[in-house]
Symmetry: C2
Subunit: 344 residues, 2 copies
DNA sequence: TTGAAAGCGTTACCAA
DNA sequence: TTGGTAACGCTTTCAA
């Protein structure tokens, strides 16, 4: 049996005063005399009293808990977003509890259910890759539970959003390759049913068009975003009659796969084929050659998401009848140029 | 104002029956008639009722929450340990809430305070690097709150422990280098005041001794565990009159720094200097040359830690008067041989 | 099979 | 300045 914890009642009994007095004394309520405050805090310290936040949450109707759900906690991007969220939330006295969907819609639903039951004060989420129906997110909004979607979101849900401009990121990457003199630029895309990958593909096409380079269908391949996928698809691309002289990959793992395959084929990087990835994973600056990539500002994204959520929470506490319009923050991605695309 | 949530009372009023009946009906208590159960669940579904876990926690005295504290959530090792913890905990209906100490003892203390106030049912933690006084952990034990320390622990605290055998890991790494014919093996150590780094140093020395290789003081340097530190100290090591022909680094970042410096100095790896790191970070298999390292089984560590904690929790529920002795699980690390140390 | 009431640990309101 | 009491939403025990 867990040890019996010290309660306000214990302190009250010890001093022969009322619990309500103890409660007020501990929070230095102005109507309580200094002597009482002193007495109470002394006993509280002696008994090693710690408030029971669960009881407080029940009466206040607030848990001071923020639910955070991401596809995978151990992916660099999400881990650092979570870190950003935590920094901001903690400063305001909120704790966070973390859930992962494993990119599985039914896990996602059950996580939302759990958060709801735990009466979190708000939810920050990045939805599962395979989620295409967003009723469970709409339910959150319908319950007036503050919600912020980050990185992955969907226009069907009118919530706050923090994301980067994937279109612009891709546009920058491809324009840079064109600057370097590349003329036949291939694209290893992600599943085009997914918003962010579609946007990256759009940015790729737009950049080509704006620079008067024709868009060739067989220079675009769709991958599963794995390193192995990057290798295989690079082989496919090199089998083209007219080989590409650059590859823009939708993430860094496929970019790395491409680079490995090119190296094994004795193709010079970046002179014969230049490569740019996406996400700026830590390893891009460790490998040889270092890989040019797009920085997504994950930590900052997390911070902003938390900020939006806290705004909503404090907004909903006030009885402002007007409904606050949802906030959409789209960050500008940054191109980091490294060896894999910088020609002499 | 957040929307008013549906409660048991709402359902009871709707049906003109008592809350207690509703409560029992919803959990299909055997003494409640099937008709009532049907009626109740129908209304519950219609009103979209969700139990308030906070209220339940208050009356049951259990929060179903596990507190997890690590130095940094965005470090690969910890992120994947957390993932392991979550998998196991969730299966048993526990949620986890995550805290990071930022390797700062005062953050660590305040996190413990918060967890205590939140009435977590148990704590899994890896202590801050700079923590050398463990009273705040002892407090947890004194309150009979289940505690498991993982990876970083201290003998001053008699808690459950899950860790790897750092001594053995280092021993394996160094023995492997000797097998490869290396005779002058340097060691880039971590702060030797920290248990795990001290153990790795011990393993290093023991391996040398067991193979009849003299231990030379100036082949051992202490680093801050950063990539940059690895580079600088490799320079120091190469300045020795008799240069080393192998380096055993206490983590993968310093190993990578060493490799970069060796490459820039046109020293062949592994023929002239072989390198082994520690932790088996993902990037070790991406870089050139791939880096030999020691796998620490972080995910598994997390799973076992959670298992130990759940054992403690269920043990403390039973009124078994006998105090359960603390469980120490020491995993055996695994040597992963890659290009940086495998000679032809 | 159902109901009534007490209680979990706090807070908040009104009365003393 | 302090005390009493109801209330938060649920579970549990005992009575009906």
């Amino acid at each position: 049996m867990g040890k019996k914890r010290v309660t306000l009642t214990d302190i009250a009994n010890e001093l022969n005063i009322d619990v309500s007095t103890v409660s007020k004394a501990l929070k230095k309520h102005p109507k309580i005399s200094d002597v009482t405050i002193k007495k109470v805090s002394k006993v509280a310290r002696r008994l090693n009293y710690r408030p029971n936040d669960i009881a407080t949450a029940l009466v206040k109707g607030r848990s001071n808990l923020i639910g955070v759900m991401v596809p995978h906690t151990d992916e660099n991007f999400f881990a650092s977003a979570i870190r950003g969220i935590e920094e901001v939330a903690k400063k305001k006295g909120y704790n966070i509890t973390i859930f992962q969907s494993n990119d599985d819609t039914s896990d996602e639903k059950s996580n939302i259910e759990t958060m709801y039951r735990a009466r979190v004060d708000g939810i920050i989420a990045s939805h599962a890759m395979e989620t295409h129906e967003f009723g469970h997110y709409q339910d959150i909004l319908d319950q007036d539970i503050p919600l912020v979607l980050f990185d992955r979101f969907n226009d069907a849900i009118d919530s706050d959003v923090v994301a980067i401009d994937d279109f612009k990121g891709a546009y920058k990457a491809v324009s840079h390759l064109i600057d370097q003199g590349c003329t036949r630029i291939a694209h290893i895309a992600g599943q085009l049913s997914v918003h962010i990958y579609k946007e990256r593909y759009r940015g790729y096409k737009q950049a080509l068009e704006d620079h008067g380079i024709p868009n060739e269908e067989n220079l675009v391949v769709e991958s599963d975003m794995s390193l192995e996928g990057g290798r295989k698809l690079t082989l496919t691309l090199l089998n083209n009659r007219k080989k590409p002289n650059a590859i823009f990959a939708s993430n860094d793992y496929t970019a790395l796969g491409a680079i490995q395959f090119l190296q094994e084929s004795n193709i010079d990087i970046p002179e014969e084929v230049a490569v740019v990835g996406f996400s700026n994973e830590a390893f891009t600056s460790y490998v040889t050659p270092t890989i040019s990539s797009i920085e997504q500002h994950s930590r900052k994204m997390g911070k902003i998401a938390a900020q939006h959520l806290l705004d909503q929470i404090s907004g909903s506490t006030e009885s402002s009848s007007a409904k606050r319009p949802s906030q959409k923050t789209i960050l500008t991605p940054e191109l980091i140029i490294r060896e894999s695309s910088k020609k002499k």
